[in-house]
């Protein structure tokens, strides 16, 4: 008897946990091979991965589009920073408590947004989430006594623990912490998507009426998906705050929010590996372009600085969509899909299996 086919990304729990532990170990060991700047970049990729992984599950699995995930990252960052500053103790304990507080605050905001999002779809939902990120600077200014307006909130320095200070540098410690948090987020999202809740999300995404007629409370599923995605983004924001030791509205602009969506689309919508690839592109592309333009005359380099990266992102998005509509991850897995594996597209269906009407 053939084994039931699993959806992309669906694996037995033990295998998922084992894979997660293995990749995390590889990434942690990898930090020893990187110089401080590369470790800083790795920490950024890990922080962005938290947000993009949450976003790709939200958009790809539950079918809800969010253009405001940068704001949810900011919420996590502010939650982390304010808690960290308020705690009377320091060290790893302060980091953990502040991180959990960041996750909690982003969960509450995500829940409230999710309640509104469950009633909306398409451009209306996109508009609502975009409004949240647009409103962020105004919110920071309105509550400036707490959020300190455009200046943002500085956090206390979280250095390398005493026991490790002789072995690793600050950037490596930050990269290691970021990798561990990203691993927890990615594993959690993978388990969530691969289990019963994942099946519910996909049913609601594909056919809400059919899902409801199967006894699935579609509204509740949407709200929970939004909340889970928000927690992931909030943890990403908290990690970013831990690395930068500050959080401010200027770091979470509309442009950055759209960049997160671009990262998810380039990587492959619905794919967590794709989210990782997209996050790496977002971090590394501006740096690569900076390296390439460094040899140009100062005037030309200054003109291109910042602008060229946006142009290349746009071109990359168009190219990937034209050549690999399923994103980078889709392009990679398409090459190794077994011949007998069902292809999930209507176009192929028409050729492979004629319907009664077609017969």
């Amino acid at each position: 008897m053939s084994r039931p086919q699993r959806l992309p990304g669906q694996r037995p729990l033990a295998r998922t946990l084992l894979l997660a532990a293995g990749w995390t170990l590889v990434a942690l060991l990898g930090t020893f091979a990187l110089d401080p700047f590369r470790n800083y970049q790795l920490a950024l990729v890990a922080a962005y991965l938290c947000a993009t992984a949450g976003l790709t599950v939200l958009v790809g699995a539950s079918g809800q589009l969010s253009l405001g995930h940068a704001a949810l990252m900011a919420v996590g960052g502010y939650g982390y920073a304010l808690t960290s500053n308020a705690l009377p103790f320091g060290g790893v304990a302060r980091f953990v408590v502040a991180l959990l507080a960041g996750a909690l605050v982003s969960a509450v905001v995500g829940l409230l947004l999710g309640l509104a999002a469950a009633r909306l779809s398409g451009p209306y939902l996109a508009g609502l989430t975009l409004a949240v990120v647009v409103a962020l600077p105004a919110v920071a200014s309105t509550w400036s006594t707490v959020l300190h307006g455009d200046q943002g909130v500085q956090t206390a320095f979280e250095g390398v623990p005493d026991a490790l200070r002789r072995v690793i540098a600050l950037e490596q410690w930050q990269a290691m912490v970021a990798v561990v948090v990203a691993a927890v987020v990615v594993t959690g999202l993978t388990v969530l998507r691969g289990g019963r809740f994942g099946l519910r999300m996909q049913a609601v995404r594909d056919d809400e009426v059919a899902a409801r007629l199967s006894g699935i409370p579609a509204g509740r599923v949407k709200v929970l998906a939004f909340t889970a995605s928000s927690v992931a983004a909030g943890l990403g924001g908290a990690v970013l705050c831990f690395v930068a030791q500050a959080v401010s509205p200027g770091a979470y602009t509309v442009g950055f929010s759209l960049l997160l969506v671009v990262a998810v689309v380039i990587g492959g919508l619905g794919s967590i590996l794709g989210a990782a690839l997209g996050s790496a592109v977002v971090v590394l592309l501006p740096w690569l372009i900076g390296r390439l333009t460094a040899g140009l005359p100062t005037d030309a380099a200054q003109r291109l600085d910042g602008n060229l990266a946006v142009l290349v992102f746009g071109l990359l998005l168009i190219t990937v969509m034209a050549l690999a509509p399923q994103g980078l991850h889709g392009a990679l897995t398409a090459r190794r899909r077994p011949i007998d594996e069902p292809v999930r597209t209507e176009e192929h269906t028409k050729v492979l299996v004629p319907t009664e009407e077609q017969r």
Partner: protein
């Protein structure tokens, strides 16, 4: 016989235009009731109202004596009222197995047993359990939609146009399965059909809808034999 599903004075409209007017309907336990009528008679709207996909303007719906007025779509399914909508309602991107699991996600431990029973009932589905919904033929999709509803172990099954676009052989197979389930397990079925001959051949009772009103409600064999009614409302 006491009605398991009881509809009284049901009135439904879209944007003020009435589609159903003062509909009374009794579906006795363990029976198949065929709901027949021409296009636009209100069959689909009646079924969608019974499963709460469309709100009623007036009237009551009772399942085993329980008023379903404030009960949501999902909770009606959990109360035993399963609806297989027109156009199948299969989740196209999920496999056959996943679609069946979906039907019983809210159930407890007997989900696997229920899925095995569906595979035994619809053997073609067992062969294609790993294929996505959109890779199935029309008949297989209908079997899957029906199977997914059965995994929920309903007491009442609302079935909307199961013969739509299917070959007569497949329709006969599905009708045969319905009759068998009603006889063997006591499943109650409200079957909305344009294929009047097929529906009345397996039904115990027939209800004719005409422009949103019940124009006749009689034993199925009597309806099939009433030449005047057949010409006026059923077109054969």
């Amino acid at each position: 016989m006491t009605a398991l599903l009881e509809v009284r004075g049901l009135t439904v409209g879209y944007g003020g235009a009435p589609v159903l007017r003062d509909v009374d309907l009794d579906v006795p336990a363990g029976s198949i009731v065929a709901l027949v009528g021409a296009n636009g008679a209100g069959k689909t709207t009646l079924l969608r109202t019974l499963s709460a996909l469309v709100p009623a303007t007036h009237g009551t719906v009772r399942l085993a004596g329980r008023d379903l007025a404030a009960v949501s779509v999902e909770d009606r399914v959990r109360s035993g009222l399963a609806h297989v909508p027109e156009g199948r309602g299969v989740v196209a991107e999920l496999t056959v197995d996943e679609n069946l699991r979906l039907g019983g996600l809210w159930r407890g431990a007997d989900r696997r047993e229920a899925i095995a029973e569906v595979y035994a009932l619809f053997e073609p589905l067992a062969r294609r359990r790993n294929h996505a919904g959109h890779q199935l033929s029309g008949g297989e999709r209908q079997m899957l939609a029906l199977g997914r509803a059965l995994v929920a172990r309903p007491t009442v099954l609302l079935l909307d146009e199961p013969s739509l676009g299917l070959a007569p052989r497949v329709v006969a197979q599905i009708m045969g399965v319905l009759r068998g389930l009603a006889d063997r397990t006591g499943l109650t079925v409200l079957l909305a059909e344009q294929n009047v001959v097929g529906a009345l051949s397996v039904a115990d009772h027939g209800v004719v809808l005409g422009l949103g009103e019940v124009v006749a409600s009689r034993p199925a064999h009597e309806l099939a034999a009433d030449e005047r009614l057949r010409h006026a409302y059923l077109g054969f």
